[in-house]
Subunit: 597 residues, 2 copies
């Protein structure tokens, strides 16, 4: 099947041929002679996949788009405070050729106009070989995920014809923004403008910014998060010269255009977009490129007002543990305690963003719980966008709960919290598995309101399944059992095995898991007293899960042949046995159905 996104991009490309007008710069032969009908589109996603349409691999000179990356390199080298002393970040409200500097200090208004970009280039520290330009080309190549080259003809034209830029360079020197001879910076600036990139290259370079400094194709970190964030902010207000306000209103993405015919735009965290079409409008931006970005922003709702978190976080479910039990098989005495006191353990499921709004909704709900509350489980399995702010907020929530004597557990199956967790005093349990968290919550209730009988021993003589039977019959069943021992990791049952009996755990731990070729995920953890193997009674699927010993484990097998023998010799006992198995099946089905809902 042809990708619908690809089809869409191709349709945008086609629509651009209805867009006409614009002229090409005459003072640079590379630009003047470019085929005016060339038109390329490229989009790179946050995971490094690039869609292209049209002439997306045709190289052209970056021109002013280089300013973005040059500023990023200088910020990375020199830090924010130093760079802010050299170059402001205010929109100039004027065109790219103006002399937009502060009256008193000469500080350029922003780094995306010529005077600011030359000033930024001058701040870049050279590589160990002493060459600033080599470093610029190397880092820009890192952003593009391939080795870039320079269009020497374009470079020479800009160097030899760049009277205005020479003047700006000398002004910068006269104000002390550049120390000493400004011509090396002028030269480096002219050369970086002539770096050859295709729309595809530029979309990957843009995605390195949207991906907060990490090139999503190579995985290499090129800039720090804060540098990428600052650069995109400045692109938003200063990127489109004196069209910035209209651009923000209608397109709403940080962007930068170049007189080479390229335009990039970035959707932070999501997309890098680049276009190429040589004819320019009077502001020096590609006519078809502008149209393409407008169309993409409108069709794909990329405007920052639309893409900002919609604050849709909701408490998807709020239950107490008696209504969403774990799948752990408990003794009857424990079941009774949980039925009575389970309402003291709350289980909340949050859906949506785990940014400020998600935590806010959660905090508001938790604040309504009464003082009888023993513990709270917050299930974040369906929450997204876990950020550092979430950790701080959860820490605040945990502290507030701890102050009123309530324990907090989180369900986070994707390990997102762990990676962000700083070693603060956060009294909160984190579980990968919802069922483990529910088991924990039940344990909290049983510890507070139950007695020893609620907790089965590590080693147990009688299977839970037989606990409701009278002494004589139970002894009879126990006499049929055959002991087996398994070592850690040993496979007890395999997906597809036919029913061979029911196994009861005497001591140790058993894991029920999906088949290895389907991920080997743990589905259930079984301990002493519990049974397994009954699911294979389904003759179409047989044994549906692998079963392994998680530690040295002793089980007792009620074999299929022992059951068949019992059916013949003592049908009354057999009826009681099958009744016990049936009851066990429906107890577990009921548990999981109440839990799932």
């Amino acid at each position: 099947m042809h990708s619908p996104i690809q089809q869409y991009l191709d349709s945008v490309h086609e629509r651009l041929f209805d867009v006409h007008g614009g002229e090409q710069p005459k003072n640079n032969p590379s630009l003047a002679e470019a085929d005016p009908d060339l038109c390329g589109l490229a989009m790179t996603t946050a995971d490094g996949y690039t869609y292209t349409s049209g002439d997306a691999e045709v190289p052209f000179s970056m021109q002013s788009i280089s300013k973005v990356f040059c500023y990023a390199i200088a910020l990375q080298d020199r830090g924010f405070r130093y760079m802010d002393s050299k170059i402001d970040v205010e929109p100039s409200g004027s065109s790219f050729k103006d002399l937009s500097s502060e009256a008193n200090t000469g500080r350029p208004k922003n780094p995306l106009i010529n005077i600011g970009a030359i000033a930024a280039t001058a701040q870049i520290l050279p590589d160990s070989d002493g060459e600033v330009f080599d470093k610029i080309l190397r880092i820009m190549s890192d952003c593009a995920a391939r080795q870039l080259e320079v269009d020497e003809i374009s470079y020479e034209a800009d160097r030899d014809g760049g009277m205005h830029n020479r003047a700006l360079s000398w002004f910068l020197a006269s104000w002390g923004i550049i120390d000493g001879d400004p011509l090396p910076a002028f030269d480096d600036y002219s050369r970086q403008c002539a770096i050859l990139t295709s729309s595809k290259d530029l979309s990957i370079m843009a995605s390195t910014l949207t991906n907060l400094g990490v090139n999503p194709v190579t995985g290499k970190r090129v800039f720090s998060r804060s540098v990428a964030q600052r650069v995109m902010s400045v692109m938003l207000t200063c990127g489109m010269y004196d069209d910035s306000g209209d651009w923000v209103s209608s397109v709403g993405m940080p962007a930068k255009s170049g007189v080479g015919g390229g335009i990039i735009s970035v959707l932070p965290g999501q997309l890098g977009i680049a276009t190429y079409a040589p004819p320019l409008d009077r502001h020096g931006s590609s006519v078809r490129g502008l149209a393409a970005h407008r169309i993409l922003s409108r069709d794909l709702e990329l405007h920052f007002v639309r893409t900002s978190k919609a604050g849709l976080s909701t408490i998807r479910a709020h239950e107490t543990i008696d209504h969403v039990p774990s799948t752990t098989r408990r003794p009857e005495s424990a079941e009774a305690v949980l039925a009575e006191h389970g309402c003291r353990a709350h289980v909340l499921e949050v859906m949506g963003d785990l940014l400020f709004s998600g935590i806010e909704v959660l905090s508001r709900e938790v604040a309504t719980f009464g003082s009888e509350t023993v513990c709270v489980v917050v299930d974040l399995s369906r929450a997204d966008h876990v950020a550092e702010v979430s950790i701080k907020a959860i820490s605040r929530l945990a502290t507030a709960l701890a102050n009123v004597g309530t324990a907090l557990a989180l369900v986070d199956p994707f390990d997102r919290l762990d990676s962000l967790l700083v070693p603060v005093d956060m009294r909160v349990e984190i579980f990968e598995d919802r069922n483990d968290a529910l088991t924990w919550a039940e344990d909290q209730i049983l510890i507070e309101f139950g007695d020893d009988s609620c907790f089965p021993d590590d080693s147990i003589a009688t299977p839970l399944m037989f606990s409701g039977l009278d002494e004589t019959i139970r002894k009879k069943f126990v006499s049929l059992l055959k002991r087996e021992e398994y070592e850690t990791g040993e496979m007890v049952r395999r997906v597809g095995d036919e029913f061979d009996g029911i196994r009861f755990i005497v001591s140790g731990e058993i894991h029920t898991m999906t088949a290895e070729d389907e991920g080997g995920e743990i589905i259930a953890q079984l301990v002493a007293g519990m049974s397994f193997g009954e699911l294979a009674l389904n003759e179409v699927y047989n044994q549906p899960f692998d079963v392994r010993a998680a530690e040295p484990t002793v089980v007792e097998l009620l074999s299929k042949s022992a059951i068949e023998k019992l059916e013949k010799t003592d049908p009354e006992a057999a009826a009681l046995l099958w009744r016990a198995i049936a009851v066990e099946g429906f107890i577990r089905l009921g548990q999981i159905m109440r839990g799932v809902n």
Copy 2:
């Protein structure tokens, strides 16, 4: 428990007392005499909940913050094209008192500087009573969710002392931006600057913008989505006067300050924030207010680069229907077909945003499916942020799939798609319930690869549970059954009922549901051949769900007493019966366990 968000806001309020400096305007007695130590914070969420700290209910005059709402009213009255012909949307790069107008036309650079705001006020169409100001006050009151009033002293001071603004007004008249006498517009402008609002009011007004035009407290739509979007865009580039660039870099939220000491900022879709503290910096913005917005943006990660969708959409799970069966009980012949051909029905679960990035990831995965694919189920239960763009993209995906003969079904439990759906030719099934979608997918496979035996009749003589038994014993069991009939809606079993036997559906439909006081959600839909009542075998919980007839339904009851009688008179048959019940229980447990995982 004290809300952690409230505690946090109080801590920010406290930190502000370490921030000093600033002066109050001398030319307006209301502003000059305000207590410099007043300090109020307020935040209103997208669902209309307001947090406040400090002097958040102290009223003060809006001053320039009114420009935001005044521009919104004019846009709403006159449309974008007309307003753009009167006022540009470019940052002025200059202070609020400058004469920032286009050289040729006099068109003000943007609506958030004085000259632009006066021009915007002049465009507002009067209410039927002929009064422009009454309309301004009415709509601003709608934004604040209460009736606002004017500070007459402040108004008179600004009206009588507003020489500069009078000059700007006459300039606008001279250029024809205002038709005829500009003084009524000047007067309306001066009065709106004197409207009294508290931080709390302003946070609700701001949230009316973030909530795309709907006041989240009252639910009233005040502005259209596009007007709210435009206004927030202009606030981002032009809201903070000549500090806009720095503001965008460091705070990254659309905002507006006023010399009354107020500042508002907006996080689209999420939060309206307002602060009040009278002393101003040299740009005319509240010193403590700026500090507060900076702290909140940093701590809560509200910068637009951070809050933009992180593009984390992922395919959480990709299975085929044989691995994630529905809970529908099928005849054995159907089970065999599904085991063989189920790999032709794909089930994808998308987690994260259903904006462009979500659809993009989905499209890319679907494009890899082979031509043998019969149908695709996309489960959107865990996807968020369903927007119009999603619908367009899903429509494209459905069309692309239809072209290769593959059917598409979506699971959307929140009816988000329905409300956005436009009547296009979208060949896609939408299910609220995942299990219904899985049933649909199985049906697609059975239609293509099964025969009649795969589909049970609407009416069935023999319960599925007995289908594996031999003729004699099956007849014996059937002879024990007692017929019952239920009308539509009639309750068959209630939560808490003790086990009274097993019921088999002969014809009709039965719904298993959560108790009415817990929402009465449907858990399972059962049809002819299936059984219910076995879950009550759990003696702690008894019957865990309500059971109702969804239409006129005939069932046959194998009563508890009939079973007990059989156990005494024919234990061999009883053993077979309990075995069949046990097998049924574990078949269903296996089904749900495979489905849940």
